[in-house]
Amino acid sequence: MATLRFNSLTGTLEKNPTSFFSSNPRLCWAYFQCNNKGERRASRMTVKAMGAAKYKGTQMREKKLTEMIEKKVTEAKQVCEGDETSEECKVAWDEVEEVSQAKADLRLRLEIEKKDPLESFCQENPETEECRIYED
């Protein structure tokens, strides 16, 4: 989601975050109630990149998905250079769609539902590497 938010716990700022917020007020509407100017109504600000990730496993998943999106977009561009209508090209962009949606779903879960997907798993298995509480 293109919003600029500062998280009190962690923060890695996305590239050029301010440009999203000010130049694309319409993007506010997707997940937030916005006033007429397209500004998010809530008063607090948080860094979007981290959301509400609590466990290391979730934070690692987020990172992995982000990297995969970048990698697969680059791959797709390369594959499609030869022939845009080839099967390889279609499959490559389909993969981009799949990981983009997976990332969006994870983000939705963390930001809107505020529930870490590993919550119930980590209650049963608090000792695992994945269930270490994510710290800065």
Binding site: A2, V73, S120
Partner: protein, 409 residues
Amino acid sequence: MAVCSAYTTQSLHSTCSISTPAKTHLGFHQKQVVFYRRSSKRGGSGSSSGPCVITCSAGDSQTVVIGLAADSGCGKSTFMRRLTSVFGGAAEPPKGGNPDSNTLISDMTTVICLDDYHSLDRTGRKEKGVTALDPRANDFDLMYEQVKAIKSGVAVDKPIYNHVTGLLDPPELIKPPKILVIEGLHPMFDERVRDLLDFSIYLDISNEVKFAWKIQRDMAERGHSLESIRASIEARKPDFDAYIDPQKKYADAVIEVLPTQLIPDDNEGKVLRVRLIMKEGVKHFSPVYLFDEGSTISWIPCGRKLTCSYPGIKFHYGPDTYFGNEVSILEMDGQFDRLDELIYVESHLSNISTKFYGEVTQQMLKHADFPGSNNGTGLFQTIVGLKIRDLYEQITSSKTAAPLEATKA
């Protein structure tokens, strides 16, 4: 395969005695409960004339199956959340299982993601050169067998497709719920699966709106740009048009999302025109209407009694045909800005299957942070959720009414 109808026990007369053998003399397994009605001494409440055997099944073997065709991911979409919320309770992934499971479970409903029936994982699809949209990437035989099993009250071990790794993970146990929702790209593709559905919905997003939504979804990602988002949509379009789009003619309800007509040249996808296309003659489903069923109505609620801000709200209702089927179409263009607009609109709609005045508004407010809460997408998704609840109650009560009819014979 034994023919066994499902009935609940509550409404049967108390003169029925219950025996629950693990295996009855008829040779059925487990979930069968046989009721024997004793011949009544006095004739009881006039509903019997001699002994009769009613064969019943205990448990949840009257699972209602709903199909939802959507291109927006699985089991986590806004529509699913609204739907499960109508039945009460929040839907959660199965506790203690695979954290990458796509399944959602609440008290009454279980939502299954049809991606779990991929026969090819990401590597397999790359090798064969097929997208996830292609039927060749999906195991429809397994989908049919398992949905049929769940519908008849048998738990199944369903595979899990992991969207993060792109692999097929070990299966998870799915117990038959009261309502099973199968969500994904191909719920109505296979004819056998289609016949198992008690109700089906197709979410039809127009290309312009799809583009605007994917921009909202992806622009914040480092790897994406406007070009990559556009290229991804374009590349998937041929398979989408060939395999997914044709399913909409089978749907009992189609929610069509289009750009608004209220603002000229609006391409931001912010204000939406949403059409709820409802098939006529579907069992247990009575279409929503405005004012006068079967007539054609154009309605702008904003005026003297209700003031709205720009661009306002516009409704349309009327009969039509859709792929050769008789349908009724309810359409909303514009958006809600205030609570009283929403309540005002709700009070003028008929056949919305609410249990109390203001239920639609209450449901919309409960999820005010969901996308579409201020326009037709949220409104119609909520209404469809209430219609499904109504359909479920009709199906389950018609099953309990049947044995009472039998005793009168």
